[in-house]
């Protein structure tokens, strides 16, 4: 029997961590939204000088919590694998994509933390670390796409299973979220407007859709786990 209890705990763990990550991104690192890409090197260095402690504290907390994609991906793997026949190839792809994505969630706080570590250095050096952090955050969607395509495929091709964690609408929702994520990489081309790294279509829309997708997935899996737990002998 699958350990539904452990899976439930792991999902809550992931949900709690994404919440902590998001809150420290906004309140400690002050990166929601990212500052304008037109800021001069001096202005960027001044930001890190003025906020050195809280950016570093934010980096600490984000580094702890940034692995929130790992527990979620593992439980999703288990839940997807029970719907696949033979080698659960889509489940494995999902797990690989989700775990790799974790790397791109820890890198931006790491880079911001480095920028704030010695803000007295020449401003241009701080600027490059700041830019690296912001572009890493906004332009790295490739692994999500693998994770999302895999989830969409299994959601839409599963044989009907009353205890499936993936309702068909979740498959369509995931396709939509994957399409909306594609705009992120465009941030390399613009410094202002809706496609800049702090713009509507590169920052606000992918981040809110990602948040909504993550929680929707977490809660559909939790609901399914509750059903599955009812099946097990006490």
């Amino acid at each position: 029997m699958l350990s539904t209890r452990s899976q439930t705990i792991i999902i809550w763990w992931g949900l709690a961590f994404i919440l902590i990550y998001g809150l420290s991104l906004g309140f400690l690192l002050k990166m929601v939204p990212l500052p304008s890409a037109h800021l001069s090197a001096a202005a960027v260095a001044a930001f890190y000088t003025a906020n050195a402690f809280q950016v570093r504290l934010g980096a600490v907390i984000c580094s702890y919590s940034s692995a929130f994609m790992v527990p979620l991906s593992v439980v999703i793997y288990v839940q997807m694998a029970r719907l696949e026949k033979g080698v659960p190839i889509w489940s494995i792809l999902q797990l690989a994509g989700g775990c790799m994505m974790s790397i791109f969630l820890v890198l931006p706080p790491l880079f911001w933390g480095v920028a704030a570590f010695t803000p007295s250095r020449p401003p241009e050096i701080t600027l490059i670390m700041h830019e690296l952090a912001n572009l890493t955050l906004t332009t790295t969607d490739q692994y999500y796409i693998f994770q999302m395509v895999a989830i969409a495929v299994v959601s839409l091709t599963q044989k009907s299973d009353p205890h499936s964690a993936f309702p068909r609408w979740m498959g369509y929702f995931t396709i939509w979220a994957a399409i909306m994520f594609e705009a992120g990489a465009i941030a390399f081309l613009f410094k202002s407007g809706p496609f800049a790294w702090n713009g509507l279509f590169v920052f606000w829309s992918p981040f809110s859709i990602f948040g909504a997708w993550f929680f929707a997935l977490g809660f559909t899996v939790l609901r399914a786990l509750k059903h599955q737990a009812g099946l097990q002998p006490a």
């Binding site: 498959g171 929702f173 399409i179």
Partner: protein, 192 residues
């Protein structure tokens, strides 16, 4: 006869879940249009000037192509419902051809712009033009894959309600692609 049983109840075309994708997409495109209108309000003269560089002919040809393809798709669905799988297949491939035509015209249009030195970074009008029509073009390409799936699915010996529902989903997606283009066409090529 099975088909009639399905159609006699109030009927949402396709399946419920698909509408999450359709409405989600329409929401995002509405956001595109609002953003475009907002930025246009800031630089009316520049947007009007830039609009003149667009080829109205390409826009009209593409609009006609997509409308025609939607008509083919609608007829294909009717053919499938009547059990004429072969005819449905023919109509789906005609729709796909129109879609391919759209892609060809779009590529010619893009390369003409790029040859004339107009790119994504020329000004705000062309940023929106390339981005929004580009994202739409991705939808067209996905739509072409969806149409070839519909072609394949309509080729089954006997079409069951499940097949019809899948074909409806394909048709809905293609109509969405068409609908989004009509709005894009209006704001980029026609809005005065």
């Amino acid at each position: 006869m099975q088909i009639k049983a399905v159609r006699s109840t109030p009927h949402l075309p396709g399946e419920e879940g698909l509408w999450v994708l359709i409405l989600g997409d329409m929401m995002v495109f509405s956001l595109f249009f609002l953003t475009f209108t907002y930025y246009r309000g800031q630089e009316v003269a520049l947007f009007a000037q830039s609009q003149k560089a667009l080829s109205q002919y390409c826009g009209i040809i593409n609009t006609v192509l997509l409308l025609t393809s939607s008509w083919f798709v609608a007829n294909a669905l009717n053919a499938a419902r009547a059990g004429a799988g072969r005819r449905a297949q023919r109509l789906f491939s005609l729709a796909g051809l129109c879609g391919l035509g759209f892609v060809v015209v779009k590529v010619i249009e893009y390369s003409g712009k790029i040859d004339a030195g107009i790119t994504l970074t020329t000004n705000d009008f062309f940023m929106f033009y390339f981005m929004f029509t580009g994202i739409h073009l991705v939808h067209v390409l996905i739509g072409l894959a969806v149409l070839s799936y519909a072609y394949h699915r309509a080729g089954r010996e006997v079409l069951r309600p499940g097949d019809l529902s899948a074909l409806e989903c394909c048709a809905i997606f293609w109509h969405l692609v068409d609908f989004l283009w009509i709005v894009l066409f209006a704001i980029f090529y026609l809005m005065k």
